[in-house]
């Protein structure tokens, strides 16, 4: 599951750094804008069957690879 999310993120952000640094601030670094975020939600839904709706969590609660992984994990349980 982690691997899937990381590869989705790598594809969307176009940067390997998301694998190396799980605590990188994707918003501050300009790696994940609103458009990428929308696609991230679609990819998480289609590849992992986890539905996160756009207003469910604030962008600040989803601003690092680790937080995104944790959120998906918590929804899988």
């Amino acid at each position: 599951m982690e691997e899937k999310i990381l590869s989705i993120l790598e594809e969307l952000c176009g940067d390997e750094v998301v694998r190396e640094d799980l605590d990188i601030d994707l918003l501050e670094e300009g790696l994940l804008d609103s458009l990428d975020y929308s696609e991230l939600l679609v990819d998480i839904k289609s590849e992992l069957d986890v539905v996160i709706s756009p207003s469910e969590v604030t962008r600040e609660e989803m601003n690092t690879p680790r937080k995104i992984i944790d959120k998906v994990k918590s929804k899988l349980q």
Binding site: D33, S34, L35, Y37, S38, E39, L41, V42, S46, S53, P54, S55, E56
Partner: protein
């Protein structure tokens, strides 16, 4: 009486804040007292027009009724897209009647009360989040307090129900409350200064430049109007957030140094934030997701451009059905799309985007594009 202006309002605010502050320091829940104060202020603000009070009451009852009804149907029949769209439409209906009937033959004016544009967001948000499975219950008190909460009733910031309810439940320690109180007083004074000093100053300049047909003076008017808008609205927002804090509610922010933005996307993350983020979460993201799932349009950039255009046009119409507002929305939609395409495609941009001189140019272009947008918004051009 108007909220957040004039001697009467501020005297009343100071007086009615005292019991709230005592409750806050004693670590007691302020919400019931806060609701009482809200009713007092709503009454004082609308008492000149019994009709407006009537519309406000009908509007709130209507929104509450459809929310309860949708909850009931959702629980009985589950997620159904068709019912969902009907209820979203219903939640928007009073606002649409209010905006569109006056421009249609007959010029009917209904649901005319200050704040309907802002309150509608809250009703629609609740319906959408029921569909998303995020809201399972809506209590009458929480609903009424959210809708009427006096600091936000006329012009925002646009709050969201789940966030608001968290604040209602949260216990604030004495230390934190006192800390917040200090910030609150500072922000109310800062907001008052924004409005009475800076906005007033720019307003005077606007009056001087208003009747001109001279192109240079029109350009002057553009900047002056832009800064007037900022200080007037950011001043109000400071005061609203401050007043909210006294009553134990941490409202969302509306402004974050908008004029330092280096592109238009950044600008909309800094200007009227509670509005643009509402549009982002409930319109833009959803359009992009739908289009991405259907792969239509095929190219990511085309999907983005279309989503920007729809999103901002709706925002334009939300401001009003006059041509200047609609053009303002389309203007921003088109320019956001151009920004997106440019930043994704241009090699020049990618090569230079970390350089200082390039930032300076970006800032200059963005600032003037934004100011020209305000000129459209002002109605001076059309």
């Amino acid at each position: 009486m108007e909220l957040f202006t004039g001697y009467t309002f501020f005297s009343a605010l100071v007086l009615l804040s005292i019991p709230a502050i005592i409750l806050g320091i004693k670590e007691k829940n302020i919400k019931y007292y806060g609701f009482f104060v809200t009713l007092v202020f709503v009454f004082l603000a609308l008492m000149k027009s019994p009709k407006a009070i009537m519309y406000l009451v009908i509007f709130c009852l209507f929104e509450y009724f459809i929310i309860r009804e949708y909850l009931r149907i959702y629980k009985a029949k589950g997620r159904n897209a068709k019912t969902y769209y009907i209820f979203v439409f219903l939640s928007l209906l009073p606002l649409m009647l209010n905006k569109f009937l006056p421009v249609l033959p007959g010029h009917l004016k209904i649901f005319a009360f200050l704040g309907i544009s802002y309150m509608t967001f809250k009703g629609t948000q609740i319906i959408i989040e029921i569909y998303d499975g995020l809201i399972e219950d809506v209590k009458l008190f929480d609903f009424a307090y959210l809708f009427l909460f006096f600091p936000t009733i006329t012009s925002g910031p646009i709050d969201r129900s789940r966030r608001f309810e968290e604040d209602l439940k949260r216990r604030i320690s004495k230390e934190e409350y006192l800390d917040n109180l200090g910030t609150a007083i500072f922000r109310i004074l800062l907001g008052a200064m924004y409005k009475t000093v800076f906005a007033a100053l720019f307003y005077q300049a606007m009056l001087r430049l208003e009747r001109t047909s001279d192109i240079l003076e029109l350009i002057g008017y553009m900047y002056v109007y832009g800064f007037y808008m900022f200080f007037d609205f950011a001043g109000y927002s400071h005061m609203a957030v401050g007043a909210g804090m006294i009553f134990g509610i941490q409202l969302p922010e509306n402004f974050n140094k908008p004029f330092v933005s280096k592109d238009l996307k950044e600008f909309w993350d800094r200007w009227h934030i509670s509005l643009s983020h509402w549009f982002r979460d409930f319109i833009f993201t959803r359009i992009v997701m739908k289009m991405t799932e259907k792969k239509c349009p095929k190219k990511k950039l085309n999907r983005a451009s279309l989503a920007f255009l729809i999103n901002m046009s709706v925002m334009g119409i939300w401001h009003g059905t006059d041509l200047n507002y609609i053009v303002y929305g389309v203007y921003h939609g088109v320019l956001l799309a151009i920004t997106e395409i440019y930043e994704k495609k241009s090699k020049f941009h990618k090569k230079n985007k970390k350089k200082k001189w390039y930032h300076a140019i970006q800032w200059f272009v963005t600032f003037n594009v934004v100011m020209f947008g305000f000129l459209i918004f002002s109605g001076k051009l059309i």
